[in-house]
């Protein structure tokens, strides 16, 4: 089956130009075709007597890739069948994978968080498309010139809405030993939080230069991660900040329910280190004691953490990031109360939701430095205190809510920018009409509704009949 692969060979109109590398069970070639940019052709390496994983993995990729879109995956171009030469042709992503960076580890914390945020963004995009990657590792992460992470190699992936050709076929866990999640070791293949675990393992490697779980080669060795926690990153690299250790160890929790519940929530933490709620995880400098590990080990006997029925998109959707945008001084108490009641309702339907409370400190167009002076700093702190105060009646547990004072001369743009950057699922904002700054604030909620790439709930206090009376009032804008 198939032609010999060498320079100049033409397969279905694509000329093999140069081998890129062999990626596990496939070889990758840069190919050309008339009037087309360079592409990559992936050809499975099928040898006599081979383990069928190579072929099935190739079929899985052939099924899943055409359904994927967006900047975080290579664009699918064409595929060929086993009847002739099996191949997949896809977009050519220039440059090196993240694997090339491992030689320079340990990296500094800001760089690790930046890379982590790019990978989390890519994972969130994939999860929203019903796919769990299940083989996230440095060699499967590439970067566009524009900085976005691109995930490659979907040979072990699982699509919620497509048959899982791998599930029935193999009795061994599928994945790559240093990064594979405990659920995958138990052969559970439908939990997007498995990718969060692998993300933690990648970040661990980047900040410490070492692998969190080594590279076990036996099932027993793989099973250890069900109960044995890794050496804390700060014990290996003293310059790893507490917040980064908190994030990494949370991603690496053996119990998926203790991890970030969606990639967007991990992204949120990586983008806002100052807002990461520090727990014992952040402080520990050695692995858990024998008693804790033994207790965890007892629980793993016959344990299945993940819910078998769950789907990737459902898990992602029920762990939303909710933003409440508040104009603390331009809103009436009644409106602030109504926004709180609505926020409470939104959160109560999604126990996995995170709340980000946001307000905007207006900077003047002319005097951009207003916030760096003493007054500006004080204002920021004051607003943070006020946000916390506003949220207190919601009674959210630590780590479920964060507080942000954004800056900008246009509040609506600042809110929309925040919503886009953090892949927010739902915005709650007060309506125009209940505020003395009616005209001005009205444009804020309308703009946020029009521009946000997600659901926006606009809260309005029930009208009592004389609500028009404040229409003519004017007021000064805050901090301008």
């Amino acid at each position: 089956m198939g032609a010999r692969l060498e320079r100049g060979v033409v397969i279905d109109g694509y000329t093999l130009e140069e081998p890129i590398h062999e990626q596990g069970m496939a070889s990758l070639w840069r190919v050309s075709a008339p009037d087309q940019p360079s592409r990559v052709m992936k050809v499975p390496l099928l040898r006599e007597g081979d383990d069928p994983t190579a072929m099935v993995g190739f079929e899985v990729e052939q099924m899943i890739m055409p359904s994927l879109h967006g900047p975080h995956v290579p664009r699918f171009i064409a595929s060929g069948d086993f009847s002739a030469q099996p191949y997949i042709v896809m977009e050519y992503i220039r440059g090196d994978s993240l694997r090339g960076w491992l030689g320079r580890t340990p990296l500094d914390a800001e760089e690790v968080a930046r890379i982590g945020a790019e990978i989390a963004t890519a994972l969130h995009s994939l999860h929203r498309q019903h796919v769990v990657h299940l083989d996230l590792k440095p060699s499967n992460v590439m970067f566009r010139d524009t900085g976005e992470a691109v995930l490659v190699d979907f040979g072990f992936s699982r699509h919620d809405r497509l048959p899982d050709l791998l599930a029935e076929q193999f009795r061994l866990p599928m994945g790559t030993a240093p990064y594979i999640s405990p659920e995958q070791v138990l052969r559970i293949r439908n939990d997007p939080r498995s990718d969060i675990f692998a993300l933690g393992a990648v970040l661990y490697h980047l900040i410490t230069g070492a692998r969190a779980f080594g590279c076990p080669t036996t099932i027993f060795g793989l099973r250890k991660r069900l109960y044995r926690d890794p050496v804390p990153p700060r014990a290996r690299n003293a310059s790893c900040p507490a917040w980064l250790q908190e994030i990494i160890l949370r991603c690496l929790d053996a119990d998926p329910r203790e991890r970030y519940q969606s990639a967007a929530q991990a992204l949120f933490a990586l983008r806002h280190p100052g807002q990461v709620a520090l727990t014992d995880r952040a402080r520990k400098l050695r692995q858990d004691g024998v008693m804790t590990v033994t207790r965890r080990w007892m629980r793993t006997l016959g344990a299945v953490h993940a819910e078998r029925w769950q789907s990737t998109a459902v898990q992602t959707a029920r762990s939303p990031v909710v933003v409440v945008a508040l104009d603390l001084h331009g809103s009436t108490e009644a409106l602030l109360g109504a926004i709180r009641a609505t926020t409470e309702r939104v959160l109560s339907t999604h126990p996995g939701a995170r709340l980000a409370c946001v307000t905007v400190l207006r900077t003047s167009r002319l005097a951009m430095d207003v916030t760096v002076d003493e007054e500006g700093r004080n204002l920021r702190v004051l607003r943070l205190v006020e946000l916390t105060q506003w949220a207190r009646p919601l009674g959210l547990s630590e780590g479920r809510s964060t507080y942000h004072v954004l800056e900008g001369h246009d509040p609506a743009s600042a809110v929309v920018g925040f919503v886009r950057d953090n892949h927010v699922d739902h915005v709650v904002i007060g309506a125009r009409g209940a505020s003395p700054l009616r005209r001005y604030l009205g444009s804020v909620s309308a703009h946020v509704v029009a521009e946000s790439p997600c659901t926006v709930t606009v809260v309005r206090v029930a009208q009592t009949g004389d609500a028009e009376k404040d229409e003519e009032e004017e007021g000064g804008a805050e901090a301008s």
């Binding site: 099935v56 079929e59 099924m63 055409p66 069948d81 086993f82 809405r161 048959p163 076929q169």
Partner: protein, 248 residues
């Protein structure tokens, strides 16, 4: 070519028309394959047979199902009461030409590496249900074809058989294109047009792109109330109408 796969029509004209409309308008259907049980249960055997016959005249495939056979030969002793009553009623409401068309339908058709059959391919004339991965594996392993398209169970299903003989079952999600990859063998059950039984009353069919080897399962809501009313008005057993509204 885009081939619309319809099975278990069961003389339900409302469901058939809704599916044909959907297949033309949204699926871009270029040809049709009817996988048996054109009649039985429903109140419009004549018009349904006429539509299928017209399609066959322009190249559509049609296979015989157990209800089509019963309509031409009489109900077999094993048939349940309501079904047997419907068979008798159906025979009386088909013309000689329509009965002859049903009698002349083949039990299976092979096109390249695809097999079209009403029930399990193990022995098409025995009308064996394919309800489990084991049944699907038997059906696939009894023939040389790489893909089987069948009906009879009234529930959409997709099975994939690997070279090492491991078989997987999948509950199709409507509207999602699925590549029937070539290292596996596949058994596709589109689900019933005229009497779905998976709790969803919407009519079922599937669309196959026979070049790209991509199948899409579809669900099409239709006027179940009208179809049920016609069944009751025809004097057929009333629960045959009720089950259309429940999809059971």
């Amino acid at each position: 070519m885009r081939l619309a796969l319809l099975t278990d029509l069961h003389a339900n004209l409302e469901a058939l028309e809704a599916v044909l409309e959907h297949a033309h308008r949204h699926g871009g259907a270029e040809q049709f394959a009817f996988l048996g049980d054109l009649v039985g249960y429903g109140a419009d055997p004549g018009p349904v047979v006429d539509r299928v016959q017209a399609a066959v005249a322009t190249g559509a495939l049609a296979i015989k199902g157990n209800h089509d056979e019963a309509a031409t030969r009489g109900a077999p002793p094993a048939m349940r009461d309501a079904a047997a009553q419907a068979v008798t009623w159906t025979r009386e409401h088909l013309s000689r030409e329509q009965l002859a068309f049903l009698a002349g339908l083949p039990l299976s058709i092979e096109r390249g590496d695809r097999l079209f059959v009403h029930a399990s391919a193990v022995d098409p004339a025995r009308w064996i249900y394919v309800l489990s991965p084991v049944d699907a594996s038997r059906s696939l392993r009894s023939v040389g074809a790489r893909e089987i398209f069948s009906g009879h169970t009234h529930t959409p299903a997709l099975y994939h058989l690997a070279a090492n003989r491991s078989i997987g079952a999948f509950k199709p999600v409507p509207g999602t294109p699925i590549k029937l990859t070539s290292f596996h063998r596949w058994l596709v059950i589109p689900g019933s047009v005229g009497q779905p039984r998976d709790g969803n009353p919407a009519a079922c069919y599937a669309m196959l792109d026979d070049v790209a080897d991509i199948v899409v399962f579809h669900r099409v809501p239709y006027d179940t109330e009208r179809a049920a009313r016609k069944i009751r008005a025809a004097g057929l057993p009333g629960d045959l109408g009720a089950r259309l509204e429940l999809g059971s």
